[in-house]
Subunit: 276 residues, 2 copies
């Protein structure tokens, strides 16, 4: 195992000390990132992740120091040097080192290779518990690095055996800390596009689901989620993950419902066949 | 000029590359800071700044790796090594390097010495322009590093010759990006304590003002600020700074009013005599 990272033109060991203490990502929280992985050695939905990364950069007014082609070549090099069959990639673009702590001069661009996140086959059959949390993300369409609430609540989540937070405000639900929310109502598959990061897994699931369910994109509410028969969340690491409990409220049968299972299987087919 | 920084037990040149790319301050925005300076070579209101820093750390559940005494000894060493008559200090405490990007293992503590911020004697007599901006800071009592909106708006502020943003939501005003707001109504000096970072300059100004004005702490509103005769802001770098214009609306006479001037002079007396 030999994970490397790209940093402003160089390829370095993953644990190199590379950043100065006046990086705007550190001192001003002015940074964005993205995270995705390979299946069968091929970066999953690269076009979509790159497009989202470009979009985040545009919204933060940060110039991208690499073209899509250059970035892909770096991915390939990092993947090869890792010697691993599969890797995860974390892109980080910060405002860069700034003499006055305000002006962006030249962004810092880091591409990290990382070990795959822990898989949770048990979670996918049994479902996860999430805690309702009153919050709506700032600049939700940008994948900023602001995850203060998630880190702050990490201990309480552990104590309550919850896997994530469900953000809601004035009853309206937006997303989990790092994933999107869906629920079923009869044959309707319902999800929101308000105050969310547009997940790539969300996009793939919507593509898959459209031949099987009536898809409804509209604002969604905590009160209706609590009464739904099946609720699930999607992310690059969670795939299609049933939500079996929201706070104290058990959802449906308290495990993965049949429609969620069906989508899970279809999504996992896509992964198994990726690049083939 | 030789500015140094303290980092986890070492004293290093200010531009050393010290941080790995898995620092939770960088990848999760999980970091806090404080900023203050010397007058006559003595850190201004050290007790207050340290107390606030401790409070921020407690609210983020980050253990402080140094005692107050140890931190002060480091300030003294950094100040001496700078060879400068006056310096500014920036404390940064991040969640530290984290293997999984979520769990805090050991915070990174950085103390930077920096050049003094630019003084603005012209601003203090003529006043500054600020732009109303609909926003309320998340976790306002913690001096987190989340200044994304300030950086995002830096260009527009420049274009509109504005020096800062005035945060308001549903008409209620909280603070500027990095400073507190006051206004006069007759002999009442009014400021808010809702959704604000409790400024040390704010505290000193309240101490000074109490023998001269009736001090009222209550929610304040944009509509009343726009009609006020004198509005000013306080911060460690702005001291007592008149606000002459909010968006397109000129405030009072469009320059520093007499009561603001009086407080300015009293505050600057405190600075001149600091440590004497």
């Amino acid at each position: 195992m030999a994970f490397f990272q790209y940093f402003n033109g160089q390829v370095l060991p993953l644990d190199s000390s590379i950043l100065q203490s006046n990086d705007l990502g550190l001192i001003r929280g002015f940074a964005m990132f993205d995270f995705f992985r390979t299946y069968n050695g091929i970066p999953f939905r690269w076009e979509d992740y790159w497009k989202r990364f470009e979009n985040s950069a545009r919204l933060l007014k940060l110039p991208l120091p690499l073209t899509q082609k250059q970035a892909y070549d770096i991915l390939t090099e990092l993947y090869t040097r890792s010697g691993e069959p599969e890797v995860a990639f974390r892109f980080i673009l910060s405002g860069g080192h700034s003499p006055d702590g305000v002006q962006v001069q030249s962004p810092n661009f880091i591409i990290r290779t990382e070990q795959l996140p822990m898989d949770s086959p048990e979670g996918r059959s049994k479902g996860i518990k999430v805690l309702p949390y009153e919050y709506v993300r700032d600049l939700p369409t940008v994948k900023t690095t602001n995850y203060v609430h998630m880190i702050l609540m990490a201990e309480e989540m552990k104590r309550k055996q919850a896997a994530d937070l469900l953000f809601h405000k004035d009853d309206e639900v937006s997303e989990l800390t790092r994933s999107n929310v869906f629920f079923f109502k009869g044959d309707q598959l319902i999800t929101t596009d308000r105050h969310i990061l547009h997940g790539i897994t969300r996009k793939v699931v919507l593509e898959i689901a459209q031949d099987h369910f009536e898809i409804v994109i509209r604002p969604i509410y905590l009160t209706e989620l609590l009464e739904a028969e099946e609720v699930f969340t999607t992310s690059s690491t969670k795939w299609v993950m049933p939500i079996r409990q929201i706070g104290d409220q058990v959802i449906g049968q308290g495990s993965a419902g049949p429609k969620t299972r069906m989508l899970q299987q279809m999504f996992e087919e896509v992964l198994i066949n990726w690049g083939k």
